[in-house]
């Protein structure tokens, strides 16, 4: 018969393992829906035929312009083009009153980190998908999983909590930047990103 002490110890361990692997991630991240659903697939697909940089273009100084302003949506969406509820919401809540859409950004970095898209896209010739995944093929926007402690997206840490088998482009922590630079034998220094 297994000694009682062993059983109690195993019980405690099992509870911690269940809590740490199952309950903790649910407690750590809260799910926040995007203000509006948007289909990248429709816009990038054959019917519209747009490219990533048509909306997410580089600024003149090499900085990324980031998210498109409502001015960019307005020319095509002054009136609903279809019967989608989301398009109706876009026109009525944002285009007509000329209000910017408060998108939730999956890749937002801490304030002390500067990231320039230009050298990565132009010099290193990386594609958007290598860091952001196949975002352009999605029909809906997934909810943002926001870390309750830091306020940042789960995409920064990566989907895998252990970070042991992160796929390329998964995770946007400093160690991910460093390992990508190391793999490509690109020089890095603290002051490159931390000004």
């Amino acid at each position: 018969m297994i000694p009682r002490n062993y059983l109690v110890f195993a019980l405690g361990m099992a509870a911690a393992l269940a809590g740490g692997w199952l309950a903790f991630p649910r407690a750590l991240y809260r799910t926040v829906e995007q203000p509006l659903q948007f289909s990248h697939a429709v816009h990038v697909g054959e019917s519209v035929g747009m490219a990533c940089q048509d909306c997410h273009s580089l600024a003149e100084d090499g900085r990324f312009s980031g998210l498109p302003k409502i001015d960019l949506c307005a020319p095509c969406h002054t009136d609903p083009m279809g019967d989608s509820e989301n398009e109706k919401k876009l026109v009525e809540s944002y285009v007509i009153p000329n209000v910017e859409i408060p998108w939730l950004v999956y890749a937002r970095q801490p304030e002390n980190a500067y990231f320039a898209h230009a050298p990565h896209l132009v010099l290193a010739e990386l594609t958007c998908e290598q860091c952001h995944g196949p975002h352009g093929e999605t029909d809906t926007l997934r909810p943002l999983e926001q870390n309750r402690i830091t306020g940042y997206s789960r995409d920064i840490w990566g989907r895998s909590l252990t970070r042991v088998r992160n796929a390329e482009g998964e995770g946007m922590k400093m160690s991910d930047c460093s390992s990508c630079h190391r793999d490509r034998r690109v020089r890095e220094s603290c002051l490159t990103c931390h000004k």
Partner: protein, 688 residues
């Protein structure tokens, strides 16, 4: 079945939970998230984001005056880098834009009270401090008046001299350890010479350097480049530690600290024996040189006599050679007798005024011609307990200086006032501090120090608005003058106006040239300099015959009796950590994490010394000198010679915490006991 839950069960369950937790991501993720959470506290300044613009200025953190290109967002500098045609920035220069937000930043004048080794600050109106200084100056009841100027040669430096001109015995004391300050000892040979004595390193083909950190920027970028290049320049470095300069030198002579004067006289002895013409130039010290042979000097210094003969032969073989005493970044100048011995080598070789020797350069034009000026006086020439009113001008930066060497010059009840942007360094020792703008917040002049032959002046233009509560140093001079009833010369009221007057004088004189720009009028000259252009002059070559006087011979004779100390402490810091009382937290983080440079409070000893004193790496040790005691962490390194403790006084990982706690003393304060420098101090060390 009834089961009793015992205390043992609870502890066992807790143990299981603890072990199980370690096998989940929870504790590790929490650690990471909590660390990130601490970066987002609301009082932590957030750098702006947005369209990036570029602005040019000049780094005023040290006398090198490197051209800087600032990346700005929303008009605020967020990144500094060297301008395209400039020298690479050091780590202090790269992180200089953080200093304006340093936790030790002062935004109001304060009164400082020492309590239990820490400083307590109380805000006071600037007018009250100005009135107190002016009253003390008028009465002169406490002693003489002095200004300790950490960046001499600026327009504000001239204004201080003009202010003190009317007070008997008043003088401006230049920073005792700035690069090239050891060359000021040349005044002993030619007291009436106009201009500043400087080494013409760029045209020298052989240099006998006594501790000059040539690889770290001392002597200018060209000398450093020639040294790195490894061709066309022979360098013999006399230095106790294997510094980066010693590593690049043709020959490194690891002489015992304090024996450099003996080495210089040993070389002189070898020169006099080899060349009768040289012997004829040093008749006054020939008897001394006959006694202090190269062999005897080598014995004092703990080096082979061949090293001394080799140094002498190098000086003989190269017609464009010189010997130069260099300032250590933390240790400052040699004692005056050692400087005299080193500079005497140039005199007996006939290298004074010759190309590649010790030459003079014209001083920078003053803002106002022919004004009455108080004299400049060295700190060690100032009598002890004589200063009644001391103004410490650290407005443009400050360098390591043990406060006891200043404190011994103060009379009882002396009034000390500092002008500084920070509650750190010298300002914590002064009773009152007037807050001034930090780097990039105000216009600054950057005159090149006396370690290069070409005089140079750059202007650092502001990129940030000055904080409310900080006063322009020149306007403080005006306020003190007005309150003390002193009439200042010239029509100016701010640093900017002083600079305008000076650039106009430079333009009028027609001397020198503008590097990186053209100027047809005084305004164009000033505008070009504000855009990063530098005004320079060429050295003056005019060979002068000098001789060693009887008085000098008597002083040099004291070197013969140099006693070998059992153990000495030698302060060290990295060059980029030496120029500011505070450093960017990022800079100290780099020191802490990279291991590239030693942090402050580390005592480095040779393995033989460690064995003898029973010290182990990592343990704490107490270093005792005549000035006091300091606790330091021990490191063991073959690059430090036996019987030497190399005490690092540079940045410490706790710099942020220390500045917040405003700890008054630092490890440098135990250095210096004779009143003539703090480069090498007899010490004892034991396990803490």
């Amino acid at each position: 079945m009834k089961t009793n839950v015992t205390r043992r069960d609870m502890l066992t369950l807790g143990g299981g939970v603890a072990v199980g937790s370690m096998l989940t991501p929870a504790p590790w993720l929490l650690l990471d998230d909590l660390a990130i959470w601490t970066q987002n506290w609301k009082w932590i300044p957030v750098p702006p984001k947005g369209v990036r613009t570029s602005q040019k200025t000049v780094c005023s953190l040290c006398p090198a005056g490197c051209a800087v290109e600032a990346g700005c967002v929303g008009g605020i500098p967020v990144a500094l880098r060297a301008a395209a045609d400039g020298a690479p920035l050091c780590s202090l220069g790269m992180t200089g834009h953080h200093l304006a937000w340093h936790p030790a930043r002062l935004t109001a004048p304060v009164r400082v009270a020492a309590s239990g080794g820490e400083a307590r600050l109380t805000a006071v109106p600037r007018e009250a401090i100005v009135r107190e200084v002016a009253d003390a100056m008028r009465s002169q009841g406490r002693g003489t008046i002095a200004v300790l100027d950490f960046r001499p040669g600026r327009g504000v430096s001239w204004a201080w001299r003009n202010l003190l001109a009317g007070f008997e015995g008043a003088a401006v004391i230049p920073a005792p350890g700035s690069p090239g300050s050891g060359l000021r000892a040349m005044r002993g040979f030619a007291p009436d010479t106009q201009g500043e004595w400087v080494p013409d390193l760029d045209h020298a083909t052989a240099i006998l350097s006594f501790g000059a950190p040539l690889a770290d920027g001392w002597g200018g970028a060209r000398t450093r480049a020639r040294l790195m290049d490894g061709t066309g320049l022979r360098l013999i470095q006399v230095e106790p530690a294997r510094s980066s300069t010693a590593a690049l030198a043709t020959r490194w002579i690891p002489a015992r600290p304090g024996s450099e004067g003996a080495v210089a006289l040993g070389v002189a002895s070898a020169l006099a024996s080899a060349d009768p013409q040289i012997a004829s130039r040093c008749e006054e010290i020939l008897p001394l040189l006959e006694r202090l042979t190269p062999e005897r000097a080598a014995e004092i210094a703990g080096i082979p006599a061949e090293s001394i003969f080799e140094a002498a032969q190098m000086l003989l073989d190269h017609p464009r050679s010189l010997a130069v005493p260099g300032e250590s970044f933390a240790g400052g100048r040699f004692d005056p007798t050692t400087e005299l011995a080193i500079l005497s080598l140039n005199v007996i070789l006939g290298r004074i005024g010759a190309e590649g020797g010790i030459v003079t350069r014209a001083p920078l034009a003053d803002p106002v011609d022919g004004a009455h000026l108080a004299p400049m006086r060295e700190l060690d020439e100032t009598p002890d307990a004589s200063i009644g009113v001391l103004i410490v001008d650290a407005s443009a930066g400050e360098e390591p200086l043990p406060w006891p060497s200043v404190a011994r010059k103060l009379a009882p009840r002396a009034l000390a006032v500092a002008l500084s942007p920070f509650a750190a360094g010298s300002s914590l020792h002064a009773g009152r501090v007037i807050s001034v703008p930090a780097y990039l917040e105000a216009i600054h002049e950057v005159p090149r120090a006396c370690d290069v032959a070409m005089a140079a002046l750059s202007i650092s233009r502001p990129l940030l608005a000055a904080r409310v509560g900080s006063a322009d140093p020149a306007s403080v001079v005006r306020e003190i003058a007005a309150s003390a009833g002193v009439e200042l010369e010239g029509d100016w009221s701010s640093t900017e106006e002083l600079i305008a007057l000076r650039t106009a004088q430079i333009h009028r004189s027609g001397v020198g040239r503008l590097e990186g720009g053209e100027a047809g009028s005084p305004d164009e000259l000033r505008d070009a300099m504000l855009e990063g252009a530098r005004w320079t002059t060429e050295p003056v070559y005019h060979q002068i015959r000098m001789s060693i006087s009887t008085e000098m011979a008597h002083r040099l004779a004291t070197i013969e009796g140099t006693r070998r100390e059992d153990l000495v402490v030698v302060p060290r810091t990295s060059p980029d950590a030496a120029w500011s009382a505070v450093l960017s937290p990022l800079f100290t983080k780099l020191h802490q994490e990279s291991g590239l440079r030693r942090e402050g409070g580390v005592a480095v000893v040779n393995p033989a010394t460690a064995r003898e004193k029973r010290l182990r790496p990592g343990q704490k040790a107490v270093i005792r000198t005549a000035q006091g005691r300091v606790v330091a962490r021990v490191e063991v390194d073959h690059a430090v010679m036996p019987d030497v403790i190399e005490l690092t006084v540079g940045p410490t990982p706790l710099a942020l915490g220390q500045s917040r706690n405003r700890v008054i003393s630092n490890s440098l304060d135990v250095c210096g006991s004779s009143g003539t420098g703090w480069r090498c101090t007899p010490a004892a060390i034991e396990e803490a």
